[in-house]
Amino acid sequence: MPDEVLDEAILGNLLETVGGDRTFLAELVEAYLGDSPGLLEAMRAGLRADDRTALRRAAHTLKSTSASLGATAFAALCREVETNALEAEPAWLDEHITAVAGAYEPVATALNERLGGATA
C-alpha cells in the first residue's frame, strides 16, 4: 500500500535475488543513501537552470533505484516529476520536487532501519 514506506514483498524478493546476502544489501543501501541527496539537488538545479532533461534524468534515476529497494510510494512521486519534467510549469515542478524531498527522509530512515549496516 502506498502509505507503507517500504514494500515488504519487494524487500523479500530483493533478499532472495542476492542470495540472502544482508551485508551486500547494507552496502547497496549505503550507496543509495550516498547518491540520493545529490539526485534531489540535481532536480532542483535542473529546474533553476531550466535544464529539463537533467531534471528528468535525475528524477528517473531516483525513481528506479527507489523502486528497486522497495520504496514504491516514493518512487511514484519521483515518477510524477519525471513524466512531467519537460512540459510542466516551473511552479508545479517546484511544488512536486519539494514533496519528493520531503518524502525522502522517512525512506532513508526506514531503509537504514530495515536493511542498514546495524542489522547486518
Binding site: 524478493n13 535475488t17 542476492v18 550507496a31 547518491d35 528506479s64 533505484t65 522497495g70
Partner: protein
C-alpha cells in the same frame, strides 16, 4: 543457483545502485557478469576483446552518453552483434518503451523491481536462444568448410582420375553408379609394339621421357573425344566410351579418337625414330556390355570395367600390327559408314572359343574426318 553456468551477461545501467544490484543478482543465477555504465561503454566492450564471449545484454534505457534505444539500434545494425540477445530493463508501468524496443529487435524485457524467478526465466530463455544461434553458426561455418574441402578434393582428384570419374565421385547419383552397373560401352585398348624390348635396353630417363610424351599426347586426345580413361599401365591404355557419361554414337567417337591417336603417334614416332627407337602403335576396339563401377579394395579403388568387351579389345590390340586399328564385328558394324575398312578375316583370339571376324580401320571417310563433339 542455476545449474547452467555457461553464459556471460553484460549489465548496462548508469545508476551504480541498480547496476550493482543487477550484477549481484545475475551472479547469483550462476552466470558470469561484465558491466558498463552507459551505451557507449557497452558497445566498446562488445566490440573489444572478450566481446565475443558475451551471451546476453541486460540494457537500461535512460542513460547519459548513449541511451538504451540507440545502443539497441546500433547493436541490431551490426552484423557481429545482431544475434546477441538484448533484455530491456524497464519500469513495470512503462510498457510503451518495452513495445518500442521489442520492435527494434530486443529479445525480452525485465520489469523493475524484479524478482529472482523472473530474472532466471528471462536469462535462461535468452541464453538458450543465443546458444542455439551459436550452434547454428558453427554448423553453417563447418558446412562451408566441408564444401570447400570437397571442392578442393574433387579438383585435386581430377588430376588423378578421368574428369568423368572425378565428377562422379562428388555427385549425388555417383554413389549408385560406383556401386556397379551394366552398360553398353565401346572399349579401346592401345599399346606399343616393340615397347618391351625398348624398355629392357633404354636408360630409365629415355624410357620415362618416351612414356611421358606418349601418355601426354594420348591423354589429351582421350579428353578431347570425351572418353573415360580407365588406366595407363606403362604403354598400355584402356579407354571406354558411354560410361559414366552417356556418349551419343560412342562407337564412332571411339574410332575417331583411335584414328587421331594413330596420327599423333606417327608424329611422335618420326622423332623417336631419329633417336633410334623402333616403336609401333596398335589399337583394339570392341563393343559390348560390361559391368562398371568401383573395383579394388579398401584404401585403393579404381573405377573400372569388367567384361568380355574389355578382354576382346585387349586381345585385338595384341593382335594388331604397328599402325593397325582392329575392330570387332560389332564395332565395325556400328562404324561402317564412317570408316574405310578392310577385313582381316577370322582371327583366333586367346580366351575365345571360335575365331572372330576382324576389320582394320584404314582411315576415315573424307567427309567424316573432323572430330564430332
Amino acid at each position: 543457483m542455476n545449474a547452467d553456468t555457461s553464459g556471460r551477461v553484460l549489465v548496462v545501467d548508469d545508476s551504480r545502485v541498480n547496476r550493482s544490484l543487477l550484477v549481484r543478482a545475475v551472479q547469483e543465477q550462476g552466470y558470469q557478469v561484465a558491466e558498463a555504465e552507459n551505451g557507449q561503454a557497452a558497445l566498446a566492450q562488445l566490440a573489444g576483446e572478450g566481446g565475443r564471449d558475451i551471451d546476453a545484454v541486460l540494457l537500461d534505457l535512460e542513460m547519459p552518453e548513449l541511451d538504451g534505444y540507440e545502443t539497441l539500434r546500433r547493436m541490431k545494425a551490426d552484423p557481429r552483434l545482431r544475434h546477441v540477445p538484448v533484455i530491456i530493463i524497464s519500469a513495470v508501468d512503462d510498457l510503451t518503451s518495452v513495445v518500442r524496443c521489442i520492435e527494434m529487435g530486443a529479445t525480452d524485457y525485465l520489469p523493475r523491481p524484479f524478482d529472482a524467478a523472473i530474472l532466471r526465466a528471462r536469462l535462461s530463455a535468452s541464453l538458450a536462444t543465443k546458444h542455439l544461434h551459436d550452434l547454428e553458426r558453427q554448423y553453417t561455418a563447418r558446412q562451408a568448410e566441408l564444401l570447400e574441402t570437397i571442392e578442393r578434393q574433387s579438383a585435386e582428384l581430377a588430376h588423378f582420375l578421368s574428369p568423368q570419374v572425378a565428377a562422379l565421385v562428388s555427385s549425388q547419383e555417383g554413389h549408385a553408379l560406383l556401386e556397379g552397373h551394366r552398360r553398353l560401352i565401346t572399349a579401346v585398348f592401345c599399346d606399343l609394339r616393340g615397347f618391351t624390348a625398348f624398355s629392357e635396353t633404354a636408360e630409365p630417363e629415355e624410357l620415362f621421357g618416351v612414356l611421358r610424351e606418349y601418355q601426354a599426347a594420348m591423354g589429351e586426345l582421350v579428353v578431347e573425344y570425351g572418353g573415360t580413361l580407365e588406366h595407363f599401365a606403362g604403354d598400355g591404355l584402356l579407354v571406354f566410351f558411354n560410361d559414366p557419361q552417356p556418349v551419343a554414337d560412342h562407337e564412332q567417337q571411339a574410332v575417331r579418337m583411335a584414328v587421331a591417336m594413330r596420327g599423333r603417334f606417327e608424329a611422335l614416332q618420326q622423332r623417336w625414330h631419329k633417336r633410334g627407337y623402333d616403336l609401333g602403335f596398335g589399337v583394339g576396339i570392341a563393343v559390348g556390355h560390361a559391368t562398371l563401377g568401383r573395383i579394388g579394395f579398401e584404401g585403393r579403388y579404381d573405377y573400372g570395367a569388367i567384361g568380355m568387351v574389355v578382354i576382346m579389345a585387349s586381345r585385338l590390340s595384341s593382335e594388331a600390327a604397328a599402325g593397325q586399328i582392329l575392330l570387332s564385328q560389332r564395332a565395325f558394324a556400328a562404324v561402317e559408314d564412317l570408316v574405310v575398312g578392310e577385313s582381316i578375316g577370322e582371327v583366333s583370339l586367346k580366351g575365345f572359343s571360335r575365331p572372330v571376324p576382324v576389320h582394320n580401320v584404314v582411315g576415315l571417310r573424307e567427309e567424316a574426318a573432323a572430330p564430332a563433339h
